[in-house]
């Protein structure tokens, strides 16, 4: 395998630069020793994760996003605390598309339901759909992508081709088939939607993880770890994965939002959550039919969705910063 040998020995590739390179060493005054350069020789080595957590909890970005998220979770768990109206009862056509009224600060939907109550009560299903579908794609896609990228060869060939097939399957087709399986037929719920979104969403995460792992596995610190006798699996988990997280976090946080929205597209196709289940997706889809006469019915659930996505994106950013020692706040 001559090509393999080539890969291991540093051979200058391509054109060698003729650019004259000046070599100089800066004064200590110019590049003072920073806290990040300090090392604690006496303490036990901390894992990258506990390092990250130490840095994370001091970040304002993290604190803001965590508070926002906590708020969303509380609304999801105890919707009754935030509105006295029932979301699905007392929908009177007499109130159709009505503006704000006493007791109904955000007005009414086309069906005459209270917008605030629907947004508040829709939080739980939407959050669950977004959160668990994301969790599903990250776990499945992450594992598949990491194995394919790290081990390469036939492992890569099989896993990557399987994910190609899944990626190209039209989601509607799969979704229509899944919802008619005997098990889901009569009890379509949040988990059905999660399953559909995760089944057809994981290949994207797998591709991204594979690309990131491919890039990282050749990094010096991985080679160093391996030559220190760290096993391949341990090197993947301890050294490669944490450093390949950044793009996965980005994909995951955005996907969380797109999954919540995708649920409304599934409703649009008649395979989403049942119409009596409250969700932002259902609301946004319903509001579309009166978009020009009553845009506010669409605005509020979309705003709630935006804030949730925002909190996850900020959380993702904070986590990424924390995992990357170089970009830590000095």
């Amino acid at each position: 395998m001559p090509e393999n040998d080539k890969a291991l020995t540093p051979v200058p590739r391509g054109k060698v630069s003729s650019y004259p390179i000046e070599h100089f060493v800066a004064d200590v005054e110019e590049t003072p020793v920073l806290p990040v350069d300090a090392s604690t020789a006496d303490g036990a080595p901390r894992s990258i994760w506990s390092e990250a957590w130490r840095s994370l909890r001091r970040q304002p970005l993290f604190i803001i996003s965590a508070l926002l998220l906590l708020m969303v979770i509380i609304v999801a768990l105890f919707p009754g605390l935030f509105t006295s109206q029932q979301p699905n009862d007392n929908c009177l056509l007499a109130n159709s598309d009505g503006g704000p009224a006493p007791g109904h600060p955000l007005g009414f939907t086309q069906q005459g339901c209270d917008v605030l109550a629907r947004v508040v009560y829709g939080t739980r299903s939407s959050l669950m759909v977004g959160l668990f579908a994301t969790l599903g794609v990250v776990v499945v896609g992450g594992i598949v992508g990491a194995l394919a990228g790290f081990f390469g060869g036939w492992v890569d060939a099989i896993l990557a081709r399987v994910s190609d097939i899944f990626f190209a399957l039209p989601m509607i087709l799969g979704a229509i088939v899944v919802v008619q399986l005997p098990f889901f037929r009569e009890n379509r719920n949040v988990w059905t939607i999660v399953l559909i979104l995760a089944t057809f969403g994981w290949p994207q995460v797998a591709r991204i993880t594979r690309g990131a792992v491919l890039e990282i596995r050749n990094a010096d610190f991985v080679t160093a770890a391996r030559s220190l006798g760290v096993s391949r699996m341990a090197a993947l988990i301890k050294h490669v994965l944490p450093n390949a997280m950044a793009p996965v976090i980005v994909i995951a946080t955005i996907s969380l939002g797109t999954f919540i929205v995708a649920e409304s597209t599934l409703s649009f196709l008649g395979i989403g959550l049942p119409p009596d289940v409250m969700s932002w997706g259902n609301d946004i889809f319903s509001a579309k039919s009166s978009l020009r006469s009553n845009p506010m019915a669409l605005f509020w659930p979309a705003l709630a969705l935006s804030l949730t996505v925002l909190s996850f994106i900020m959380l993702g950013d904070a986590l990424r910063d924390a995992l990357d020692p170089k970009s830590r706040k000095r």
């Binding site: 081709r161 990626f167 087709l173 690309g211 990094a219 793009p247 994909i251 946004i284 669409l298 925002l310």
Partner: protein, 308 residues
């Protein structure tokens, strides 16, 4: 390298067999009787239903139907849809338009996503970064069927800069708006991916080195930061091409584009297995080729990645 490419091409064979089998099975398991779609609201007589079933092999067991289809494919005969039209003709009709649309969307999301993401990353936490964050939030949290409709209404109807719908010729200017709408969500992904990678690489040792050795800022940014930030972005874009081609159902519907997404959707509704399988197979081939290109691109972007 050549060996690697050859092997990737050989892998297309099991992918083709696996995908067609799985797909055919999915369409076969779709609920409802396919003749119900042909007969419509008012139904047909049992005799007519029986002839239709015989005509489209609907009475045969799954394996027989699948092998009949496979036999057809190998003899370059994809068969006909329920309206009696050649599937090959349908594919030749819809793929060029969709390909144009998808490539335009891809270029849009790549150019704008990377440029905006780059500047957002370089100015992390500043006003520009926050602005693009808000823009991407809007794109993510408002479904495309709403955004597309609004853009069509504003640019097509109110301002009349372009026709609200796409004609049969599907020219470049007509496809501009649909392509932007189609690429919007992916634009958000590209933007955030670029931004994150740029932030990560902006602090890398080789960037410090490059800056230290006196390279101009544009050169540092374009060659050292950007090029090294491109792996996740390229991965995403490569995978997205297939999604843009097959998954443009909503966008094609809004702008009345006669494309792959809606042809596929209608075929799924009707349970026309040969149409669904043929179209998706073409998509899978495109998708695999795009992924192969991306894998080869990795080696160019990051010389440490090699294929044997």
């Amino acid at each position: 390298m050549a060996g690697y490419v050859l092997r990737r091409f050989l892998q297309l064979i099991p992918v083709f067999l696996g995908a067609t089998l799985l797909l055919y099975f999915l369409v076969f398991s779709l609920p409802g009787d396919a003749t119900a779609a042909i007969c419509g609201e008012k139904g047909c007589t049992p005799a007519v239903e029986a002839s239709l079933r015989a005509q489209y092999n609907l009475d045969e067991p799954f394996w027989v139907q699948y092998f009949l289809y496979l036999k057809g494919v190998l003899t370059f005969d994809l068969g006909v849809n329920f309206a009696g039209r050649e599937i090959a003709t349908i594919i030749a009709e819809v793929f060029p338009t969709t390909a144009k649309l998808a490539v335009m969307a891809l270029v849009f999301e790549a150019v704008f996503g990377i440029v905006f993401g780059l500047f957002a990353g370089l100015r992390k936490g500043k006003f520009f970064d926050s602005t693009v964050l808000v823009v991407s939030l809007v794109v993510i949290s408002v479904p495309i069927f709403v955004l597309g409709f609004l853009m069509q209404f504003v640019f097509g109807v109110k301002l009349a800069w372009t026709n609200p719908t796409v004609s049969g010729d599907a020219g470049f200017t007509e496809l501009l708006l649909p392509a932007i709408v189609l690429g919007l969500v992916s634009f958000a992904y590209v933007l955030r991916l670029t931004r994150t990678s740029v932030i990560e690489n902006a602090n890398a040792d080789y960037v410090r080195t490059a800056t230290a050795k006196g390279l101009s800022r544009p050169r540092v940014v374009s060659v050292h930061i950007l090029r090294n930030s491109m792996i996740p972005v390229a991965t995403f874009l490569g995978a997205d091409l297939g999604a843009l081609m097959g998954g443009a159902i909503v966008t094609e519907g809004i702008f009345n584009v006669n494309g792959v997404g809606n042809t596929l959707y209608r075929a799924v509704q009707n349970g026309e297995a040969p149409v669904v399988v043929s179209i998706v197979t073409v998509l899978i081939l495109i998708f695999c080729l795009a992924n192969l290109l991306v894998d080869l691109l990795y080696a160019w972007l990051d010389p440490r990645i090699r294929y044997a």
